[in-house]
Symmetry: C2
Amino acid sequence: MGDNGDDALQPILIAGDWRAARKPEGDFRASNPTTGALIGQRFPISGADDIEAAIAAAVDASAALSTMDPELIATFLERYADGIEAAAEQLVAIAHSETALPAPTRLAGNELPRTTGQLRQAAAAVLSRAWTNPVVDTKAGLRSHLASLGKPVLVFGPNNFPFAFNAIAGSDFASAIAARNAVIAKAHPSHPATSQLLAQIAHQAARDARLPLASVQLLYDIPPTLGAKLCADRRLGAIGFTGSRKAGLALKAAADSAGIAMYAEMSSVNPVFLLDGALRERGDALADEVFGSCMLGSGQFCTNPGLLIVPHGTAGDAFVASLSEHFSAGSAATVFSAGVQRDADANLDVLRMAGANVLACASGGIGEGFRVAPTLLGIEASDFIDDSERLQIEVFGPVNLVIRADNLDQMIGVARALEGNLTGSIFTASDGSDDASWQAIGSVLRNKVGRLIQNRMPTGVAVSSAMQHGGPFPASSHSGFTSVGMPASIRRFATLQSYDQVSDARLPKELRDANPLGIQRCVDGEWTRNAIKRPPA
Amino acid sequence: MGDNGDDALQPILIAGDWRAARKPEGDFRASNPTTGALIGQRFPISGADDIEAAIAAAVDASAALSTMDPELIATFLERYADGIEAAAEQLVAIAHSETALPAPTRLAGNELPRTTGQLRQAAAAVLSRAWTNPVVDTKAGLRSHLASLGKPVLVFGPNNFPFAFNAIAGSDFASAIAARNAVIAKAHPSHPATSQLLAQIAHQAARDARLPLASVQLLYDIPPTLGAKLCADRRLGAIGFTGSRKAGLALKAAADSAGIAMYAEMSSVNPVFLLDGALRERGDALADEVFGSCMLGSGQFCTNPGLLIVPHGTAGDAFVASLSEHFSAGSAATVFSAGVQRDADANLDVLRMAGANVLACASGGIGEGFRVAPTLLGIEASDFIDDSERLQIEVFGPVNLVIRADNLDQMIGVARALEGNLTGSIFTASDGSDDASWQAIGSVLRNKVGRLIQNRMPTGVAVSSAMQHGGPFPASSHSGFTSVGMPASIRRFATLQSYDQVSDARLPKELRDANPLGIQRCVDGEWTRNAIKRPPA
């Protein structure tokens, strides 16, 4: 990658080929967040011609994929994971250059293995059919399961996980392909070369597995107006989105107008309640743990603990003092882009205008590149409750708000004032002294969040069958679904299909009497791998 | 019920009491469809005050319900079913007077038992927790299940099933309550006295089961503008709707704007493909069967077979001739309202203007009341494909369109031209001569419909665990869900909740190690009723 970029625009992956963009709307380059300098090649902002070509190819690929042997899909997912591992060094280097995320600890040590693990879990779910929820009612002669949409899935990737949520490699991608739908990936423009390399590996894996090559297509960027138009295209089966609330709601409105399900994960402030007993027991250790979580990825996590609810009193005061020291001792954190920096500054101002005080701010200059000073804000619980709409805006970056509560009622009041969130955490003492408070806060918080966490920070997101990475609106667009965790995340990109009185030989293998695949099925209300004995006709 | 109605408006069921409407926007009476005469009492069209009171009460009731012992919910559902059975004679008489549906065969013999069976299946699902999909990942320390929304569900009932889809007694109602949400029922104005009596029984059952009384509220009607405003009220958890596409899309747009999931079942023409072998084998019997299905409920079924795809040739010609005789010999069918009559006439005109010919029409006068003459229309497959958007509009009433195909390719072309539908049926020969055609048509039809049916008309809708009464948009608003069939229909009104590292005693019983309820759970990928042994900490 040169510093000035080659003259030619980088090719896009459309209809099985890497080819030049047709009538692009413009072009862009990535930036080095630590310096702000443009780096790497020039990438096209695709226009209507590229989008139309992608949709047309994806429609055909989806039709073919929807009836394809799932073994081939599993092979693709596994080959793709293998390919990512083989290119790990190069991927990490490129992603680091485009995002400034720590290469060894975060990208190589954590996110890349998570991404390949996710692809392999998707492959396992494809083989086990665990996502398909097969149901047989022998008395009624009905059988149902979740199946491919038969139509393409459009995936918008976010800036903050260049591998694990990449539009061409992350959970939405793996889920959509696992459900046998072609994917049109709209990468995030903050890491185009990372996305390009992933797409090259995906393309090769699709070739190796003999998938329709247009199952995997990549656009680096498109203008917002065309994005909205694309989301309203009825040829699409569904949409996956991870990003800002503003962009998410705009695209969702377009998708809604066309009756297309859009699974958007949009924003969350992830309240963390630190109860008095826990603070008395281990306040200093908690300050370390909280600070570490606040700073992960420079605060650019979907599950960043934006709100910290802390009781007044000796233990709470000591905790806040300790946490403030951490923030003061921190240094300016590198963020992904000038836009992230600008929005963080603007939202910090919103919080201050709403009455939040600066408790601590990393000293030292901001320096070059895209940086935000770690900042700890404070507000009284009563003030938060009075102006909760403004005071719970998400600041994407290392800015966190401490809410000081006089008593349990105020903590409950804060919980009641919350919008929908991905997570809610409660830290409690090991001696049982916080049990009543857990119960009182937890019962309110439970209905506000997708994942309720005990004694852990929210920034760890396991790819687990029991994960809920989603939550009540506006954290996500549908609280019944998760964007992380196989097999549940696959179900977003599926349709419920019932077979009524259909002869055994005409049923999909998954629903046949003999259960030739040996999968788990719910037969007359009971989960079993047993074959079905039909009553004589 | 007098012929002129009493002067006083009938009370509404709000916040646990039958009370007078406050500032109603107007009032209405039911009609006797066979004469067109107004019958029964005057019912209020509720205004903003009643709606606000209903929401406020439902919010509190939902919060209480969401943590209530499910046994009480099951008791309510069972008592309600018992109460309906005890009042069966009166319910059937009132519903017959308001809908003109046949009292013994349809209302008493079919729909009422279906309704009580549905309530009891919901009760069983509440007790078995079958709808909650409990998942445990012991390694990650995560557990998840589907849970109450913690917010009220608004249900709009349709005109065509006064019991089984009634907003206060039908599948949406039973599903929403089973998931421990309070229901605000917006009844259909074509059968207010039926809805009132059902609400009285529901109210008593709620009292007997000690549910929060505002769990069950009834509004007879509201103006469309207030309906849209209500659908955008963020205090709601979700919305169930069965009705016309026009009303459904308008309300869905409002719900979408507020991030509220609306499950709308809107329209379907339920294509029936009659293959040549089947027609040769049993064409006359099929004509009888098809005609019977077309006339069920005067054609006012969500699953009415609006499109009949028939090959040209001897067998197809004989079938169409036989079916035409049936239509010609029929008599004017009573429909629910003047509006249904008007819309059926208008949509029949649309079809004729789009090129459909009248093959047969019931002779004899239309007579008094709300009536539509059974009408069989015909069109060539090539013409249908050329103008498929207009030619697949739903005519709600006894109007059906025969599409004549020259060959298999044209039949496939018709399938390709279809929008999303609830059902698709294919009739095939028993001697295997249609097998290739089944395969070719079925593979296209499969992705267009929720339920694929072999050798049966679509009008039978079993309340089954493997039912899909839903389909790709615009048949329904989300093809991953069904509005009929326990436990799946309950899942529409649920949220996915995950517990991360939460101590056993703080978990809901359903997710505790010991499995004290003995329910089926998916533990580390395997469905089991076994208890969980936690690894030592």
